[in-house]
Symmetry: D2
Subunit: 354 residues, 4 copies
């Protein structure tokens, strides 16, 4: 398996299966001398943690991060930061029912085809549990980025949409409700809807919007590694993501150039921001904003038919404690990946001009 490393200069490598000994990672390339607030790192992990509210999975995983290297006297030393999150709640027996059959729209089948066999316990490496390592590294990236502000929030659950421009929202309200939607009324309706869905033994999709402010001009590489292309890849690498758009996105298709073009102010800022803060793959100093579409979680508690390894049809149903809607817990993951992308480009960018 390749592809367990993200970034070129600010570079995260993760390891671990959902029901192995530990998950964790190595963050290589963080400059020396950064004072780290380790409580802030743990706090980001807590935002992603199961069991944090009534509308997420009720699994109990403390998700406590242990740092193994790279930090000395409270500061990064410039050496790789190794860390581990031990799996303390390995109820492997919960998963015996999927040992020999393939859950629909999960990775079970393709893993067996690709690798010849798989660690079937709870999804193994394909479990979204891996994203906890990303949140740890992303929290360090946020501290490295200092003045850059990254705010993600839930803007849609099923057909329920948050119908306000992000500029009308108060980001300080994001954490005020379990859905992580900064509009209290919409949040309330989303929360009730998710509870209904859970009662049905079903799941529902959602959209996360992310806004990045105070970005320096010049991040991003103009050809294959455009800033928005790397952000897109980062988001699409999160479990259950089906789509990504930035700036005007899919709606921009219907616009004419004369409307869509962002006219300049004399200071180089623009009057509109259909570009979403990126022009030619490079940040232009305006707010970066994008949307990430999540499909409904594949594990439904309702019974369903599927196939076993021999291709026989078998009846089964989802067990365990799963999320009825993944977006509330995915908010810190989106922020973490955005932070990793920006930190990586920040390092590359320092070398670009004589």
């Amino acid at each position: 398996m390749a592809g367990n490393t993200f970034g070129n200069s600010f570079k995260l490598t993760t390891f671990g299966e959902s029901h192995g000994v530990a998950i964790g990672g190595v963050l290589d390339g963080c400059p020396a001398g950064l004072e780290l607030d380790l409580e802030a790192v743990q706090k980001e992990l807590d935002r992603r943690r199961p069991g944090q509210s009534a509308i997420v999975t009720q699994r109990k995983e403390p998700d406590k991060v242990d740092f193994l290297s790279g930090i000395f006297e409270g500061k990064t030393t410039g050496t790789p930061i190794g860390f581990a999150i031990y799996n303390t709640n390995q109820k492997s027996k919960d998963y015996s029912h999927i040992k020999d059959s393939y859950r629909p729209s999960h990775a079970d089948y393709v893993y067996d085809q690709k690798y010849g066999f798989r660690d079937y316990r709870g999804g193994g490496r394909s479990s979204a549990r891996e994203t906890a390592s990303r949140v740890v590294a992303g929290a360090i990236a946020k501290q490295f980025l200092k003045d850059v502000r990254i705010n993600a929030f839930v803007s849609q659950v099923g057909a329920l949409t948050l119908d306000k421009a992000y500029t009308e929202l108060d980001f300080s309200l994001i954490e005020s409700n379990p859905v992580r939607c900064p509009d209290p009324d919409t949040a309330q309706r989303m929360e009730e809807y998710i509870k209904e869905i859970r009662k049905e033994g079903d799941t529902i999709g959602g959209i996360i919007t992310c806004v990045i402010q105070n970005v320096p001009i010049g991040l991003g590489e103009p050809v294959f590694d455009k800033l928005h292309a790397e952000l897109g890849k980062a988001m699409l690498s999160i479990n259950a993501v089906k789509g990504f758009e930035y700036g005007s996105g899919f709606a921009g298709v219907k616009m004419k150039g004369s409307q869509h073009n962002d006219q300049f102010n004399s200071d180089g800022s623009t009057k509109t921001n259909h570009s979403g803060g990126v022009q030619g793959g490079i940040s232009n100093g305006m707010d970066i904003y994008f949307k990430v579409a999540f499909k409904p979680v594949a594990t439904v508690i309702q019974g369903y038919e599927t196939i076993d390894k021999e291709g026989n049809m078998v009846k089964t149903k989802g067990k365990g404690r799963h999320d009825p809607c993944v977006v509330p817990r995915a908010v810190p993951i989106v922020e973490a990946m955005a932070a990793l992308v920006l930190a990586d480009y920040s390092l590359i960018n320092r070398t670009i001009k004589l």
Copy 2:
């Protein structure tokens, strides 16, 4: 500038500015012994060429590719394939009007900020002319992929949509009209609309749908380098792209898990394909399909106000011969990038299992 290389094993590096001596690239990692149809490569380039129809830019660029290395007696030798497309139509004077001012929603301003100065002739490196090199390499990738079939087509221009599932379409009709839409009636309406837009001196956005068939099971890496994440990055790296979705995409958000899950047939194929041919980041043998959203071209012929290097407001208007709508010419580019992604994963995949 980093980021001029795409792929890890089947790896393309491009160079060149729109009005320099030449654009071109080096394709490294193509296995030895592949018989190359060089006319088919040139034919792909011709699909992207300016001046091919009444609804695209009327610039005259022959876009003839010269191979410099890596091919011997009609076959790849395993050594890097170097190639160049000489710029024969360098009307640099056409661009003197943008030397000291910044075109809105172009990369002019950010290039100057990032690099300190820029090759202002026709967009320089930020010009979509760079994508001709991708089409050359992608055409070789297609030949390497043999049985895999990649078909992209225009499915939307402005608000005009192609309202048929891809399974109802006849891909052999894609090249039958200048829009590259496989439904003749829709194509007709799109063509007329683009002509109107051109008369207005304006531009319009569009969507390209891409369908990849006959994909072997097992391509893609499960964590950061998921197959759809890399496809997404590849597409978002194309000039003017604002969004990417695959399978159920943004529409999947509104579905419940019980509806969205793709139930298995006994042979491992699935009854539905909301997953878009990818599960857990790995191809499952079903058709891969995705959509790519293009904004309207930024160069409009209408007059507009913008700023010069000192921040003064100046009046200007687009000169030269530009595309009123980019999607017809972007079809071969989308296919090329898809081919490069699949070729890259095909090579990695050979080493995954003992």
Copy 3:
């Protein structure tokens, strides 16, 4: 700090300081389905362990490896193999004397210059303790390589040389003595000499020869990533190494082409092997052999003068328990790095020909 990753396809990333919580690594890219003998891995670590004989450092470090991921039911799953070696013997106070001064020919001074400060405990990241992680990964690489036989041994200590061609040696004797020299008489003299050196409170250099047999033809990439170039880099990346030569090496300089050329037998093997098993950067199926020169360990127990952070001259002397000669313990490290190089090229090589 970049550069904590080795390999492209069979890829090791290490982390950890000598006196931090743990050292360890992530091995990414090992194919799925490899049955692992974990005792054999620990045994390789034991060959590198301090305190194993009277002629190496008497520090007590159990160096027990814990695997955290990537192995299921005794086999690799294809997912990244995370592992940690906890530092149980962190006598940090031993190193307080070097907190504010720089040991000659150590990395103390350059770390402070490069990173602004350093983890001064026992060398931190610059300690050869990091190589324990390489031995773990190398032991897995050896198992992956199956029939390839890698034997390293000590061929010189100070001026004492092993004056036999490797073809005259019995590799099964390498582990029969603490020096790891397969010639018992020479080993005896080397052992006595090292003991003398230790009594003097001094240290001495040495040479390790490595022989790799049963290598398939075709490993290595012909231009920048020649097989011997990557072996050279691998060896030069080991602490205290000052030189690398393969095949005829520096002695080959004095030969004429007519003597040096390896004439073919009719089966493609060669009558001589001045090429050292590599031609044009690619293995030719003959034995690969090379020599690695190690300088004397920098930490001497004798008193010496050095500078502190302010540039004042201070008197100090080496404390702690150090190796009088590094080569006996470096033998498994040389083998590990050779195995990592070959495993990496083995994976790349599968994709080179149609």
Copy 4:
């Protein structure tokens, strides 16, 4: 074929076969705004050119470099610098005698084994002609490095050695004789010896010493990517190189730690420099110096026996115009590779500390 790229941030990709249309490369990552002296680049190429003196090959290749991109108004733009050297002297018929047989100690045999077939004309990709592209990029790297001074020279031909420390030499004499040895008497003897060897229809090996002065402190990465490890790889990637040592090198093996350690002066410089300017993989500001061993050129004009593709023994002899001793022309190549390594680390180094 992978491995046609060198460097991570200041990154060269080369292409081309000795008798193809052109050789060339793409240099990606050179910062914007560097004023380039293109005549100085061509001059470096001329130092490597065949036919420059009586003791090198008499082939006539003008080796004129054409720049295709990345330079505008005399300065680098930050975009990739593409360049080509057209092969004007493609006497392919000269090589028909090796089409079906394998020259001893050349890459012919392993290429056929690895790739299934090969471009047999003059060695194809395995020809040292590829190094011309390195000299072009290295010349740009030298200009980027500004104050760093890189001087390579011939210090041994066969058994004839230059018996002076580099500090006693006048580097301005290097170009005063065709051997490129800065000691006129030794140069004279070496020149005569090479002429004798040529008369015999034979070849001879040699050593190049390289001295790098004015290196900033802090270049190099401490673990796998140590500065000397990357220099070693760079040198070992040059055709015909069999060994690399830096600082005390192989001779350091016989020294005791108390002798070998470089004692500090109060300004951080050292009284001796056995370390060769690198400690713990990081430059310490002292001169970097190293030696590179070249085997005798494999192509001898004397008749010899070898095998054809079917393994039959055939009589043949070297044709064409070859170098009797490679080191005089390899001097600029050694310097170019050293410059590329240092330029790459210079860019990485800018991001290492907050």
